[in-house]
């Protein structure tokens, strides 16, 4: 039985094309955290804690190499239900910073929503691997979205908007991978985009233009095209109704996103300070430990969500570019590997993980320069934070495992 799920003897094969960029990103993380530790003693510093997490991550990486993929495949739904139960428990946990995201077991504190990022990919991968040839697009889309939405809603309730977005977001690339027509996915996404775009009239017009262009290029039946357009118009007008039903702090967040300078000492403060820090870094940056913005704590949560501002200020555009290049190199290699896999479940999982990493990167790096609203998503491998780092290393370990032991399941 155990032999079915675990390897007893194995030569661990490291896929350097995937491991190497991760090591580069981890190095950048530790250098940056060392720079911001300033006068705090080493033991108390985030740098030291992150070093411990990295070492712990290596152990997890090693252990996961001994787990057969079939274990994840067969246990996916079980994990999924455990996740739901844990998320429900989380809601009843005492809150911290106005949110209850953690489960406390003695001295250990962990965030089920982080591990949930892995579980949702397994669950969707199993579902798609099992059914992708048996049911058509129109049924595949609502089923997968339904699977993603249960944990997403529970996480949204914590409240943790950023993480809850990730769950439905990863389903779309996976559906695309499953062969669902891009136009069908577009039909599902477009009403949501209509609502968002309607906050700004110019943006809404541009969006309508894109919508017409896509409908025209995709050449659906005339009737369907017109219906899609009208539905989108309807959702656009729904915006103002939704707006009136938002809480003040939610509205505030949207307004601040649209114009951070409107509230320089309140909600827009983080963004203004973050952009100032990044901008003042220039091409080469102010140098190691020289970031006045970050060191003087003008930047809140500088070690976690806003760590890219520290990098931008102290190491400049050059390192920002390297970070982007490294992520692109990593994502490209994973996608490339997944296309060569015979293991359908593994192939879907890889695409799911690529999406997870990708969405984290663009939302985080967009958020610090005001391209996206502040949602509180950390930057993979770089941001400080134990559970998140371990999740990301676990993902890399599983990817490595899937690629190096490609057996069809």
């Amino acid at each position: 039985m155990l032999n079915k799920y675990f390897f007893y003897k194995k030569n661990i094969e490291l896929k350097w094309m995937i491991i190497l960029p991760v090591l580069v990103l981890l190095s950048i993380s530790l250098i940056t955290l060392y720079s911001t530790k300033s006068s705090i003693s080493l033991i108390e510093s985030n740098f030291f804690k992150q070093c411990i997490f990295v070492l712990f991550g290596f152990i997890i990486f090693y252990i996961l190499q001994y787990v057969r993929n079939v274990f994840f495949y067969e246990m996916a739904y079980v994990f999924y239900f455990i996740l739901l139960i844990l998320l429900i428990i989380t809601l009843f946990m005492p809150s911290k910073f106005g949110a209850s995201r953690w489960i406390l077991v003695g001295p250990i504190r962990f965030q089920p929503s982080e591990f949930g990022k892995i579980i949702i990919v397994f669950t969707l991968s199993k579902f798609l691997a099992d059914y992708k040839n048996n049911i058509n697009d129109w049924k595949l889309i609502p089923f997968t979205l339904l699977i993603a939405s249960f944990p997403a809603i529970l996480i949204f309730k914590q409240p943790d908007l950023g993480t809850s977005i990730i769950f439905p977001a990863v389903t779309f690339p996976m559906l695309l991978w499953a062969g669902v027509r891009p136009f069908h996915l577009f039909v599902v996404i477009s009403p949501i985009l209509s609502i968002i775009a309607a906050f700004n009239l110019k943006l809404f017009y541009s969006w309508m233009f894109v919508l017409i262009l896509v409908i025209f290029l995709s050449q659906p039946k005339v009737k369907n095209g017109i219906v899609l357009f009208i539905i989108n118009l309807f959702f656009g007008t729904l915006s103002s109704f939704l707006w009136n039903n938002l809480y003040a702090h939610q509205r505030n967040r949207i307004l601040t996103f649209l114009d951070p300078t409107s509230d320089p000492l309140g909600a827009g403060y983080q963004i203004i300070q973050s952009i100032t820090a990044i901008g003042s870094g220039g091409f080469l940056g102010k140098g190691f430990g020289q970031g006045s913005q970050t060191h003087l704590r003008f930047l809140p949560v500088r070690d976690s969500d806003f760590i890219i501002s520290v990098i931008g200020e102290e190491f400049g555009f050059i390192l920002i570019f390297i970070v982007f290049a490294t992520f692109y190199f990593l994502l490209y290699n994973i996608i490339n590997s997944s296309s060569k896999l015979n293991n359908k479940f593994g192939s879907f999982a890889l695409i799911g993980f690529v999406s997870t990493i990708f969405f984290h990167v663009i939302i985080n790096m967009g958020m610090v320069v005001s391209l996206f609203p502040v949602t509180g998503l950390p930057l993979p491998f770089i941001s400080y934070g134990g559970t998140f780092l371990l999740t990301m290393i676990a993902i890399i370990s599983i990817i490595n495992n899937i690629i190096s032991s490609d057996i069809e399941v």
Binding site: S280, F327, L331, S339, V369
Partner: protein, 580 residues
């Protein structure tokens, strides 16, 4: 399977394109912020985090002529708490036992600010900590998280002598002083408002330094930025006064409880050795700039402690003024000053009865005797040979009716009436020669200040070759030249010596037994219905030919010979003992 792989290839293209596009857009945004708008954000980040911190420069120290500090600086400390940093480890019980401030009121102050936007701004709990309080608080530093001391410079007066009027005091600058063009003052600065502190403000004032500190968004200080320009503070220059603090203290104690003034000077150099205006105010009774309430109380006090009687006290000179007429007599060749004139104790000028102070009369007196006994009638009679202009001109020659130019602010010039003055006061028909009889004995409209009387003694002691009075040691002061015949000077000097040293002289109480010879003149200023003011002015010539002039007035002290003379004697004796 083939189909699946083909489809995968186009999907891979879409995905890579998607990732690429998003990364590209983000990269452009970073490029725009970091490269295109770089300078804008550099400026912004500087504004964000740099603050000017003023380093208060200490004022110059004031020393006496022997290098003993009379005015010094001492930093004083206020006790402050930063509400945000005060946590549950704060020992309120210990805190209140050291500072003697009710712990509940401290708690209330802190908690009111804790959730406030100013929670990082220090709040002052107690002003002007004592040394003991501060060291006890420092010992228990760990029990008081969030505690800090804010330093401000203040004056201290380490010497026992007060010298209050001369030193003056400091006040906070007012709106007007700041708003002057090119004003060096800013809000919260202190400025010398009286006395030496005002006179030598430019010398004593230091130049505040400026440091550029890093501050975070809460205003917390993170220290100096090295690569920024730094202006070092420059302490004010110290000054040395001509005052001998030993003699000064002696004179102050002598004048204690009396109203009046006492000055001693070196006639040759014009240096002021001691200077007392009584009553004094206590500069040590407050810390830092003078509080408004204290100043107000002094200002309302009937004995006028804020009034510097030495330079602003308006007193009739009394009989001392007879010496001016004596000089006029001596300089007039047609008058024989040895000719005796009878004093019967009474003089009738037309229908006015004028008395000598000795109602029994002095008998036949010449000029020397008239000075020695301070006979009024002799001068009543001889002034007939002169007119008002003569008296006015000689008075001005002797330094009256004008400022002595002592280096203190707001000196008064006294009054010697001339025709214009009298016409203005009484109209041209309202006054007559008879008024002169009053002036000649130093009464009536003749007003002098004690410093003028002291200078008058300088002129006599040096035969008219003295210098303007000064308080700043080693500074230049203008020469004063009074031209009289050498014989006239000798005669006046001899007469003054006789006043003190010969039997029947009014200044006999001032005679000292050893160390030198005192010369001088008494004066009594009628002040009905109160007791008359008591004057003595003179000089000491020590055995080493050292000179010390002196002027003393004691308000309501009775006759000059009664109160002022023995006091003058003690000062001279003290000076002799210091010299030895």
């Amino acid at each position: 399977m083939q189909n699946f792989n083909y489809k995968r290839k186009s999907t891979i293209l879409i995905m890579n394109f998607f990732i690429g596009i998003f990364f590209f857009i983000l990269l452009i945004k970073y490029f725009q912020i970091q490269i295109l708008n770089h300078q804008k954000y550099v400026n912004k980040s500087r504004r964000n985090s740099i603050r000017q911190v003023i380093q208060k420069a200490p004022r110059g120290i004031i020393y006496d002529r022997n290098g003993i500090a009379i005015v010094d600086n001492r930093p004083i400390f206020d006790l402050q708490l930063i509400p945000e940093d005060v946590n549950k480890n704060f020992d309120y019980h210990l805190f209140s036992s050291i500072t003697e401030i009710d712990s509940n009121s401290v708690k209330l102050k802190v908690f009111n600010k804790k959730n406030n936007i100013n929670k990082f701004k220090p709040i002052t709990i107690k002003r002007h900590l004592s040394y003991i309080e501060m060291s006890r608080l420092n010992e228990n530093l760990l029990s008081f998280p969030g505690m800090l001391f804010s330093e401000l410079p203040a004056r201290v007066y380490p010497n026992n002598c007060k010298l209050s009027h001369t030193l003056g005091y400091l006040r906070e600058v007012n709106e007007q002083q700041i708003s002057i063009e090119n004003s060096v003052y800013k809000y919260g600065d202190i400025i010398g408002t009286a006395g030496i502190e005002k006179q030598y403000e430019d010398v004593l004032r230091g130049i505040d330094g400026v440091e550029f500190h890093m501050v975070d968004k809460f205003g917390r200080d993170h220290g100096i930025i090295d690569d920024e320009i730094k202006y070092n503070k420059k302490s004010g220059s110290s000054i040395q006064l001509t005052i001998d603090s030993d003699l000064q203290l002696f004179c102050e104690e002598l004048m204690y409880g009396k109203n009046g003034a006492l000055i001693t000077m070196n006639p040759i150099s014009g240096e002021i050795i001691s200077i007392v205006s009584s009553p004094q105010f206590d500069l040590n009774s407050f810390i830092g700039p003078i509080p408004f309430s204290t100043w107000n109380n002094w200002n309302r006090d009937k004995s006028k402690p804020l009034n510097n009687r030495v330079i602003n006290g308006y007193y009739s000179p009394g009989s001392i003024f007879k010496l001016v007429t004596a000089a006029m007599i001596l300089e007039n060749p047609s008058i024989n000053h040895n000719e005796k004139i009878n004093c019967s104790g009474n003089y009738k000028y037309y229908d006015v009865d004028m008395n000598c102070w000795n109602l029994d009369g002095h008998g036949d007196v010449n000029l020397n005797e008239a000075i020695k006994y301070s006979c009024n009638v002799y001068f009543y009679k001889l002034i007939q040979e002169f007119n008002l202009d003569d008296l006015f001109n000689m008075s001005e020659k002797m330094g009256f009716n004008k400022k002595t130019n002592i280096d203190l602010p707001n000196e008064s010039s006294g009054i010697i009436p001339d025709k214009k003055y009298m016409n203005q006061k009484y109209t041209s028909r309202g006054w007559a020669f008879g008024n002169l009889l009053n002036f000649v004995i130093g009464q009536g409209e003749v007003i002098t200040t004690p410093i003028q009387i002291a200078q008058f003694m300088n002129i006599i002691a040096t035969k008219g070759e003295t210098k303007e009075p000064k308080l700043l040691l080693n500074s230049k002061s203008k020469n004063i030249k009074v031209n009289l015949n050498d014989n006239s000077w000798k005669f006046i000097q001899q007469s003054l010596e006789d006043v003190v040293n010969q039997k029947g002289g009014t200044g006999l109480n001032t005679k000292i037994d050893k160390g030198g010879i005192v010369s001088g003149k008494t004066g009594t200023v009628e002040n009905p219905p109160n007791e008359p003011h008591s004057w003595f002015a003179g000089y000491l010539k020590t055995e080493e030919n050292d000179l010390l002039s002196l002027a003393i007035i004691v308000e309501n002290g009775g006759k000059g010979s009664a109160t002022a003379t023995p006091m003058a004697k003690r000062v001279f004796e003290k000076y002799v003992s210091i010299k030895q």
